[in-house]
Symmetry: C2
Subunit: 366 residues, 2 copies
């Protein structure tokens, strides 16, 4: 079997090896502070008795699952704490495929490249539905692409890489399509705390046994390396997912769960709002500079990303590496997200140097 693995780590390593000063806008690694209570939770954990260093329950610490469940309006039994959103999406897609209602996964174009990679690994096949130039997804197009072969429809809102935020009507319509074809809507909501539009709508808003919601604390708490996420399953689907989680990972890291629980309890809305505000300022700064450079770009309504197009400079891996070497700015090739964005580059606004990056880009493409 050949896997297509996402290029993120490859480009990050290329940027790290580069000789000059490179502004890293490759991956969605926040550069802002995690909550102080997260750090405090790790310190506190370090001093616990030896029994607290042993396996957490396989599905996650009960108190953490209850805290998540209360916030999301579900039953704690529906929550599986995972090794980040990465494992949550893997469990969700595997769970959909093993229902034997078809082996097709409906994805959007552009797409977050882990989804097609996971699909291949799980012996599924991809079917892509195009979004418009602003990343908007028309549920009618999804309905047309769906069939008896559809195991799952996977969407991300707020979206990576387009920055689109799907309205409530879209989420409801997508659940509806999933129900019509006895498929599963998988809604990856890992950027929910970075909704800049005020229009984010969780798939949990629609009650259905045909949708799974995945999430993590990786982005909301700026801790992508800690690896604590979760998936919320309908009661009918959760048991097998717990089994797979146990058979693959046994359990999720306990110091991470402990620290996240403390941070969840003690971190107020100010923390999240400050990060959104920072992001808003960076979007303005970066897109203003892109305006000056005469580039075409997207303005995100959520998530961390701006896509930009420079005349005569398509979004290939080769061009990304050239930009690292010659302009000192590292982005992601648009072609990594699907054919529709192959002319584009994606820049993650996770550096205080977005203005300098945009200046470098402007100078380079002048």
């Amino acid at each position: 079997m050949e896997y297509e693995t996402p290029l993120f780590f490859h480009v990050m390593e290329y940027a790290n090896r580069a000789e000059g000063d490179v502004i890293d806008m490759v991956s969605g690694n926040p550069d802002w502070e995690p909550p102080e209570a997260l750090r405090e939770g790790l310190r506190e954990y370090a001093d616990l008795e030896p029994d607290r260093f042993q396996y957490a329950p396989s599905e996650g610490l009960l108190e953490l699952r209850e805290e998540i469940a209360a916030r999301r309006g579900v039953d704690a039994d529906q929550v599986v704490v995972t090794n980040g959103a990465g494992e949550a999406n893997y469990l969700a897609m595997a769970r959909a495929l093993e229902r034997d209602r078809g082996d097709e996964i409906v994805l959007t174009d552009p797409v977050y490249p882990y989804y097609p990679g996971k699909t291949t690994m799980l012996d599924g096949t991809q079917r892509f539905v195009a979004t418009d130039d602003k990343g908007r997804l028309d549920p009618a197009d999804v309905r047309e692409a769906a069939s008896e072969e559809t195991a799952a429809i996977v969407v991300a809102t707020p979206n990576n890489p387009t920055g689109a935020v799907y309205p409530e009507s879209t989420m409801a319509a997508l659940v509806d399509v999933a129900e019509e074809y006895d498929a599963i809507l998988i809604s990856d909501e890992v950027y929910d705390h970075y909704d800049l539009s005020g229009e984010f709508a969780s798939a949990l808003g629609v009650d259905s046994s045909h949708r799974i919601v995945t999430n993590a604390f990786s982005k909301s708490m700026a801790i992508t390396g800690v690896r604590v996420g979760y998936a919320i399953f309908p009661p009918e689907l959760v048991e097998n997912a717990k089994s797979r989680h146990m058979l693959v990972n046994v359990a999720t890291t306990r110091p991470g769960q402990y620290a996240v629980l403390r941070a969840l309890r003690e971190t107020g809305p100010d923390y999240y709002e400050a990060n959104r505000e920072l992001l808003r300022e960076r979007v303005d700064t970066f897109t203003d500079a892109l305006d000056t450079a005469g580039a075409e770009y997207t303005t995100p309504r959520g998530s961390f990303y701006v896509m930009a197009r420079f005349d005569g400079y398509p979004g290939t891996l080769e061009n990304v590496e050239r930009l690292i070497d010659e302009a000192g700015v590292a982005g992601m090739p648009g072609e990594a997200f699907g054919d529709s964005r192959s002319d584009w580059l994606r820049f993650a606004l996770v550096t205080p140097r977005v203005e300098e990056a945009a200046r470098r880009l402007a100078a380079y493409f002048e």
Copy 2:
């Protein structure tokens, strides 16, 4: 698809819910101290800059992989840092099966129940080879069971649940069988630091492109909850395994990797020897008391476990639950490890109260 999930968590929960005082000897959760440097590593991590809270490289922190590689005499490129031995075994078994050289996994009887569970999840089929009453594995029996259908042979040394330690000649012969049938020997060596016999031999001692070694710091550092393990692949097999790791988990928890690296560097042989000594004493205490009780039992040459047989009390889940309620001792049903040990109970020596436990058992079966 129906999964068989190991019963460990189920029995642990049953024991926790019990009304009286229960001595927990269910799971292989050490009750001794992790290395002080492990705690110190977590404290230190809590104060690092935000960039250190982000994704580690997918295959693991380079310094940790180099430290492991140096100790095991392999190249760092062969090492994948995983979410414990659980993920390491999953990656290894998946890697063997996706070579399309057959779908059969040869396992021992008795068996650590995660192996047959993973086999089913990965669409493989199990073939069991009996070990003798001391848990010794005759490579000739493995050779006879192997065929063109064999994808992998999975063994654990020191063994859970039998306590057997396979000699160097057995390991060499097992690699030989794997080579003969173009299969992969997977050697799970997570109890290597608890070899009480001095005869432990790693499969790494035999140079071959047909063996994968899995391990973790879960047992050696008494941190089953932290979830840091690793697998060592032949160069020919490592790339796809790294891809699967990336697609399932993205990366392994970074605070855990950081703390383990520090503990690896700063923890001397005394720490490990003291834990072995503790275990030796507990083996003596527990088996002496079992002698008094007139029970049949195994004396482990490695790992944490004693298996015991009480007349007229077979090792069923029902009997284990009865023992929890009526005798205040929690073990694992032998039937969880395969038909050959269905008359037996397994007790993990991970409590300071092994003498009291044995006394309770003696009184109960008197």
